[in-house]
Symmetry: D2
């Protein structure tokens, strides 16, 4: 197994927990659990995915965007536009 | 393996596809893929989860809520309130 | 001025408050207020609009949808589908 | 009337249009329009508010965040964190 830095390891841990939530949902559906209870768990998984993406986005801005901004010029503009588009997709997802 | 009706089977298929998306995200993080590409995939998984919950909700309203409404009385009120709360959680997730 | 029932009056009150929030936003932009503070107020107005729509939706389900469901048949199906589509627009807005 | 730069004028125009949408909603409620039609208009106003905030956020990142990042240090960190918190409020609103 590869060695990962602390940030990567923390991201993987969060994604594995979300994978567990999705598998839990499959079990609920298989066992014919009450619809509303399934929906509550779907909302929880959706919130977890959003938290994950917000953390990822903050790290991206604190590293890539800040680095590009420090250099300035066209690359800075491009990174800001790219981050803005990712935020728009996130807000609308 | 248990026999499931067509609705359950279709729900399980969707959830397995979402589980695949989450595992794909783990692979991207492990391979240190570019942040913005990871975020694009997170948005896709979030949209898939929302579509799943909207389908589930429609089925719930077409069966449980309609049945309770047909009977009327306190049970109908309770089911409407319960569905409304699930919708609110969904809208805010 | 027209006489409205209590439900309509309460809806109008909420919408007038949201209109006030939008006008407050215009004032902030005119006075060149700090971006982040403007964004905080936009988030508050968005949340208020969502709360308004969730209340409206619950009232709609408790009246129109329940009535149609009590009658059953094609009209019940149509109302459930119509409500589901409105919920989907709301969740994706 | 004050002189505003082009960016401010464009923001004010968008906010005035949203104010018009909210007033249109009041008229619909007063005229007792069909619930689902009101909800469709609420979704449109919500989407307009989100677009407005995404534009505002992009401008903020292209100016304040880039300026702070170019200077670096604690101020850059503070601006990134502040922007990330605004994005989180937006995503969750």
């Amino acid at each position: 197994m590869a060695d990962h830095d602390a940030g990567t390891e923390s991201q993987l841990k969060r994604l594995r927990r979300i994978e567990g939530q999705i598998r839990g949902l499959q079990k609920m559906v298989e066992e014919d659990k009450y619809c509303i209870d399934v929906l509550t768990q779907v909302s929880a998984a959706t919130r977890a995915l959003k938290s994950f993406s917000l953390e990822l986005l903050e790290q991206h801005m604190a590293s890539c965007v800040v680095d590009a901004a420090a250099k300035g010029g066209a690359e800075a503009d491009r990174k800001i536009r790219e981050a803005s588009e990712a935020i728009a997709r996130l807000v609308r997802s």
